[in-house]
């Protein structure tokens, strides 16, 4: 066990820090599109976008450890994302690198690295949730085209995406529901595609429903072989991270929560002096650190070349619970001001906590509900029988 960095790793961390010092001043307006565009360009020049991808497709060829260092340092400094095409970098790129034709690689990878446009992912369907095996959106081959009919739901940022990576059913197999699923890459402006944003309870919209009505997709936009879509997706799923960057975002929320407790009064004294409030915050801090340490242990496993199994469900469950509870608690300690939102004179921190308390499902839904994570842990790790 050695929790210090090697000299090489330290050198890389220093390089990252120096880059951040130079290019990301504390007071940089991270919401300014001009600044973000320039920032992305610089990152791209350093090959830190797609940092773990092979150099021959334009990636940085970074190690897992370097990648973790990069992400942690970035998160600590509240840097804008590593690339602007989040879905492309997380899901689409790795799948294309693993299964794409040479032509597909040349056509899509540079744009993903440049953040030229957004991708979205068409996996979930109504009435199936995360049960991809029960997929019903259908594609029928007609000559050199697939004709797609069906519906997707919980498609993140579909309304701002130029392309979608889409799972469709091309045949039925009674014995193995995962067979007969095929992966297609589809331009969102293809005739027959309709996007309907889903308004969330906080009043915004991040997800959408996507409808496919006789949508024609050329065969050359198929990713992998017909019927291989499940395998293609699994590859992308395996690219999930150890959760280290998420820990940084939780840590920032925790620090803000401490400041909130210090400036919020209860009975005339700072809430931060209340033993119950202190204990709650210390519990959050401890659980966040546990998540961080879990992540470091899983990262070590990866570094040692052991495959990561269902351990990510542990991080997801912890994260979901923390997001729900921290948002709720931050609202709770504000007393009567708790339910006020942005615009109310008495709302703390411009209503950010209220937004957090209504936005956790975005995190929770992302990787399956807490109940699903618990099933995965119980069945795949503890070996309990499936229901």
């Amino acid at each position: 066990m050695d929790l210090t960095l090697t000299p090489e790793e330290e050198a890389f961390r220093d390089e990252v820090r120096a880059f951040l010092d130079e290019n990301l001043p504390q007071d940089a307006n991270r919401a300014d599109p001009g600044f973000v565009a320039e920032w992305q360009r610089k990152l791209r020049a350093k090959r830190w976008v797609g940092f773990s991808w092979p150099a021959e497709v334009g990636g940085g060829g970074g190690s897992i450890m370097q990648q973790a260092i990069l992400k942690e340092e970035m998160a600590r400094r509240k840097a804008p994302p590593l690339g602007s095409c989040f879905m492309g970098l997380t899901w689409v790129g790795p799948a294309i690198i693993a299964y794409g034709s040479e032509e597909q690689k040349q056509r899509f990878i540079p744009d993903i690295l440049d953040g030229a446009y957004q991708w979205c992912t068409g996996y979930s369907e109504p009435d199936h949730g995360s049960d991809l095996g029960a997929l019903q959106c259908k594609a029928v081959r007609e000559g050199d085209e697939y004709v797609v009919n069906g519906q997707k739901i919980w498609t993140s940022i579909a309304m701002w995406s130029k392309w979608i990576i889409l799972l469709v059913r091309t045949s039925q197999h009674a014995d193995d529901k995962h067979q007969g699923i095929t992966c297609l890459l589809v331009p969102m402006d293809t005739p027959g595609i309709t996007v309907r944003p889903i308004k969330n309870m906080a009043g915004g919209a991040m997800f959408a429903e996507v409808f496919f009505d006789d949508v024609r997709v050329p065969v050359e936009l198929r990713l992998g072989a017909e019927g291989e879509g499940w395998k293609v997706t699994i590859t992308a799923l395996a690219h999930e991270r150890s959760g280290i960057a998420e820990v940084e975002s939780l840590t920032r929320n925790l620090e803000a929560l401490k400041r909130l407790a210090q400036k919020t009064t209860r009975g005339g004294r700072p809430a931060s002096e209340d033993p119950g409030v202190r204990a709650r915050i210390a519990r959050f801090e401890t659980r966040i650190q546990a998540m961080r340490m879990n992540g470091l242990r899983y990262l070590t496993k990866q570094l040692r070349g052991e495959p990561l199994g269902s351990e990510t469900s542990v991080s997801k469950l912890l994260r979901a619970q923390l997001e729900v509870e921290m948002g709720d608690f931050a609202v709770e300690i504000q007393g009567a001001a708790g339910p006020l939102v942005e615009g109310a004179e008495a709302a703390a921190d411009g209503g950010r906590w209220q937004k957090m308390a209504l936005s956790w499902p975005e995190v929770v839904i992302g990787g399956g509900t807490p109940n699903i994570q618990k099933n995965i842990i119980a069945e795949r790790i503890l070996g309990l029988p499936k229901d």
Binding site: G129, M201, G268, A336, G338, P339, L340, A344, E345
Partner: protein, 372 residues
């Protein structure tokens, strides 16, 4: 001993529920509360419920009401809570309670009839900061002015500040705590409505910029004890709405769990859904029992009332906060959409939890009253 409702109370409940189901189902709740620039209620429905006698339920018959008690009010408010009915009914009924606790016969005769017939909308303006309303936290000073007082300062977290026309305002009159009735159109009064996450419940600020209250507007009963009795009645009324809403959330979620098919069977088949719902049910049952006892005690056994009011509020609002979150979570992804109704209960639970003291405050009161 009879710890159940009378036939008349059961009839009241079923009539209120029937009316709200017909006139203000959740689509209508949304339409009223989401209306741009609206005050969060429907003047038409307000008129109708005044005619149905809801507003005058606890107003003595001589002043144009039905002269009923706290238990009857609980029946009414449980149903408005269940329906998430957006209106200043709770606030008005609490203003009525304050006038009955502290007003002279003349003062009751002056204001109760208009509160009963809906021409006035009442609101208790009990807080100055985000802490629970206790006598010690009243610091607004009434400067003696002839036979009356001049009030300068502000009251915050005032329910339905945007809609109410008549406020009950505690202030310091020398060494004593007193209560004044302040009307919206009095000189020096201004109001600010605050945006909140629960669109069906509004809060705001009442600014008193040198408002003069004559001796006839200063309520007859004074002191910490009457203030606490008013807060206890307000807390019980609020708790009734909480209990009704929590029950509504459980019913909504149980129905969804029966209908929603996943992996080939209704999600309600799984213990991961069943057990949380069973716990929600137990919490609602227990909240009801504590609430009914507290309501009975307020009218019939006042010495016990503070302890039971605190138990009911502490237990119910804490349970409702969990139920609000669980209701959304048990719906899965759709629970988080604006379209599904689960979040309406979640938001209500967030609004209700701190009002008139959160569970920390009330459990501490239970401990102290229990001899600790």
């Amino acid at each position: 001993m009879d710890f159940g409702f009378t036939e008349e109370q059961e009839l009241l409940r079923s009539e209120v529920r029937k009316y709200l189901d017909a006139k203000c189902p959740l689509e209508q709740v949304r339409a009223i509360s989401e209306a741009e620039g609206g005050a969060g209620f429907s003047p038409e429905l307000w008129k109708e419920i005044a005619e149905l006698g809801w507003l005058g339920l606890c107003v003595p018959e001589v002043h144009g009401g039905a002269g009923l008690g706290q238990v009857d009010l609980v029946v009414l408010l449980e149903e408005t809570g269940r329906s998430l009915f957006p209106s200043p009914l709770l606030a008005t009924s609490l203003a009525v309670a304050a006038l009955r606790e502290a007003g002279s016969e003349e003062q009751q005769a002056r204001w109760l009839p208009s509160l009963a017939d809906g021409t006035a909308i009442g609101s208790p303006a009990l807080q100055e900061d985000a802490d629970p309303p206790t006598p010690e936290r009243v610091s607004l000073v009434g400067t003696p002015d002839g036979d009356g007082f001049v009030l300068r300062g502000e009251k915050r977290f005032v329910p339905d500040a945007g809609a109410a026309t008549l406020f009950v305002v505690p202030f310091r009159a020398g060494s004593e705590l007193a209560l004044a009735v302040v009307e919206r159109d009095a000189a020096g009064v201004s109001l600010e409505a605050w945006p909140g996450m629960d669109l069906t419940k509004r809060l705001g600020r009442l600014v008193l910029d040198g408002v003069r209250v004559g001796p006839d507007a200063v309520l007859a009963e004074r002191g910490d004890a009457v203030f606490e009795r008013i807060v206890d009645r307000a807390t019980a009324g609020l708790t009734a709405e909480i209990v009704g809403a929590a029950d509504g959330a459980v019913v909504l979620t149980a129905e969804y769990a029966k209908d929603r098919i996943q992996f080939g069977s209704p999600i309600g088949r799984y213990q991961g859904v069943k057990h949380p719902l069973a716990e929600m049910y137990v919490d609602v049952e227990s909240s009801k029992s504590l609430l009914y006892y507290a309501a009975w005690a307020l009218d019939e056994s006042p010495a016990e009332a503070p302890r039971y009011v605190s138990m009911a509020k502490a237990y119910a609002s804490e349970a409702f906060a969990r139920i609000g979150i669980d209701a959304v979570q048990l719906h899965g992804a759709v629970g988080y959409t604006w379209e599904f109704d689960a979040h309406l209960y979640l938001k209500r639970s967030k609004w209700a939890r701190p009002m008139y003291g959160d569970s920390d405050f009330h459990y501490e009161r239970v401990a102290a009253l229990g001899g600790l």
